[in-house]
């Protein structure tokens, strides 16, 4: 693709939510395994908003943290190959002149966008990587890696409000960002120190935004494999600050943050007897709830801390009779 065509693709962008927008979508491995609650809720919410997220054919693992290494170019093959798949999807007519690649997992978002930025900055790296691709066409540099939250923020607030069938009145939500949506700041989608990207949407759902001073603190990431206790202590710190600020639930977009803040509450409770469990939800799960899209879209069954109690208290779900 020529530079000309790439910029036209960006310039031509239709307003998301204006009906029938088809966007190439990169799920990532975790969304197909442990984080189906993120994928199922996001796809349902997107559909309700008139956006079709078209799964990228033949996508592979994004490359994860290994691809952040500076001196091991081979690690960038995985993310770059996914960007080539976007070119292929356009060439095959699976999407039409649409070079935005939508991600849901913030880790995949970060990895793909960083490789994209790296090859834009270092043409010699791109040449070397293209050379190693063998059969694939060369990556031309025209893809724009975006996060679903950015797409949501482009949507007219009125459209979101119109979809709200059951306002989340009385629910206090602490949006959490962690690292990968924000840092480094060239990659991040919001102010790395004072992010507010989720706030408007939470308010449009009818809920109250609670400001958690720990919303940009790292969850401990992959330390969760070797050092559960350190991660449990971080989770305790983040969640108790959210609790102190008055939050009922915490929202995130990252399956790894969700694991560390949700599943690790078992270890948190063991280490801190005063700890009170708090549901950790993907923002899209709250949206699916407010949109009235049903349990198969909300997928609360996959959350470790069952949000039913909190939601019942706010009269957002019916109590089992």
């Amino acid at each position: 693709m020529t530079q000309d065509k790439a910029s036209r693709a960006r310039g031509d962008r239709r307003e998301a939510g204006s009906g029938g927008t088809r966007l190439p979508y990169y799920p990532g491995c975790t969304l197909k395994t442990t984080a189906r609650n993120l994928e199922d809720s996001a796809l349902a919410v997107a559909r309700a908003l008139g956006i079709e997220l078209v799964e990228l054919p033949r996508w592979n693992c994004c490359g994860v943290v290994a691809s952040l290494t500076d001196d091991d170019l081979m690690r960038h093959l995985a993310p770059l190959r996914n960007l080539i798949r976007v070119q292929e999807a356009n060439a095959a007519g699976i999407v039409e002149d649409e070079m935005r690649l939508v991600t849901l997992c913030s880790m995949c978002f970060n990895t793909l966008k960083r490789t994209n930025a790296r090859v834009a900055e270092r043409p010699e790296d791109l040449e070397k990587l293209n050379d190693l691709m063998y059969k694939e066409e060369d990556y031309e540099g025209g893809v724009e890696v975006v996060h679903f939250l950015e797409i949501l923020r482009e949507i007219d607030p009125e459209t979101i409000r119109r979809n709200v069938k059951r306002p989340l009145e009385g629910l206090k939500v602490a949006p959490y960002y962690g690292c990968t949506l924000l840092r480094p700041k060239e990659i991040g989608i919001d102010d790395p120190e004072r992010p507010t990207a989720q706030d408007d949407i939470i308010r449009e759902l009818g809920a109250e935004v609670v400001d958690n001073p720990r919303k940009t603190v790292c969850c401990g990431s992959y330390q969760t494999v070797a050092n559960k206790d350190a991660v449990a202590d971080l989770a305790y710190d983040i969640l108790t600050h959210a609790r102190a600020a008055g939050a009922d639930v915490l929202t995130t977009f990252c399956p790894l943050c969700a694991f560390n803040l949700d599943n690790r509450q078992r270890e948190v409770a063991a280490r801190h007897p005063d700890f009170e469990h708090m549901p950790v939800l993907y923002l899209t799960q709250l949206m699916a709830l407010a949109f009235g899209l049903g349990e198969e879209a909300c997928r609360f069954d996959l959350n470790f801390v069952d949000p039913a109690g909190v939601l019942e208290a706010s009269q957002l779900v019916k109590e089992e009779s």
């Binding site: 395994t33 592979n60 081979m74 093959l77 190693l132």
Partner: protein, 251 residues
């Protein structure tokens, strides 16, 4: 299918000089190949396997069905003046002038031990028995190495995603030659991973075929006992006659 047929015809053609004992005086075209660094002049129409035999090697490993199905004759070669390291089955690949080659008689790669009936039908089965699948960097070297032209990287990725059906579809024609595993920078034994995936899909993912169920029931009801007894009791000559007259696909 037509390419397969013509390939088989070519192989049959290429081995004729050996199988029919054609005198080397009659061979018009010759090439020089290098087997493990040593040069040999061989008839140009041979496969790598028959060329090695022509050169005097007696193949007790790296040789099996000679028809491209068993996966025993994995070979690594470079063409004259080419930087690219290529892989092939020796019985399926014609020699070329200047080719430098070696056979890979065996690929050391442990196959995990598991009881399919006791495993959970979940993506976790791969990380349990072959945790190294997570090391895949999507370099696609495995796909380049595959003599069956399978999309090996795609099926490894399918394993990571827990997509048993996609893995089965993509890996079905694997002949377990091991060339993918010997080239993989992440040290994954792709063919073992695929076999685990196919076994799991076969047990839990795919529908039980109606014809198989019916046939097993027929066997259990003793429908074929009489015919089998008849064969067991037949003389050798009678068996030979029956074999020659059997119903079979055309060559």
């Amino acid at each position: 299918m037509s390419t397969k047929t013509s390939m088989m015809e070519r192989i049959s053609e290429s081995t004729r000089s050996l199988t029919t004992g054609v005198d080397t005086k009659d061979v018009e075209h010759w090439v020089t190949i290098h087997i493990m660094g040593r040069g040999y002049r061989v008839p140009a129409d041979l496969t790598i396997m028959t060329a090695m035999e022509f050169a005097g090697y007696k193949l007790i490993r790296s040789c099996g069905c000679r028809q491209g199905f068993c996966g025993a004759c994995a070979t690594v070669f470079r063409r004259k003046g080419e930087y690219r390291l290529e892989t092939a089955l020796a019985c399926q690949t014609r020699v070329e002038d200047g080719m430098s080659l070696v056979q890979i008689p065996f690929v050391p790669a442990d196959a995990a031990s598991y009881d399919v009936a006791a495993e959970e039908y979940s993506y976790t089965v791969f990380s349990k028995h072959y945790p190294e699948v997570a090391r895949c960097v999507s370099c696609n070297t495995c796909t380049k190495a595959c003599p069956q032209d399978l999309e090996v990287m795609d099926y490894v990725q399918a394993a990571i995603k827990g997509d048993f059906e996609a893995l089965t579809e993509a890996s079905f024609d694997c002949i377990q030659c091991g060339l993918c595993a010997i080239r993989c920078p992440a040290e994954i034994a792709q063919y073992h991973v695929a076999q685990l995936g196919r076994r799991m899909y076969g047990r839990y993912g795919s529908a039980e075929p109606e014809h198989l169920k019916n046939r097993v029931a027929q066997i259990e009801q003793g429908e074929f006992d009489e015919a089998l007894d008849e064969l067991v009791g037949a003389t050798k000559d009678d068996l030979k006659k029956r074999y020659a007259a059997r119903e079979r696909e055309s060559d």
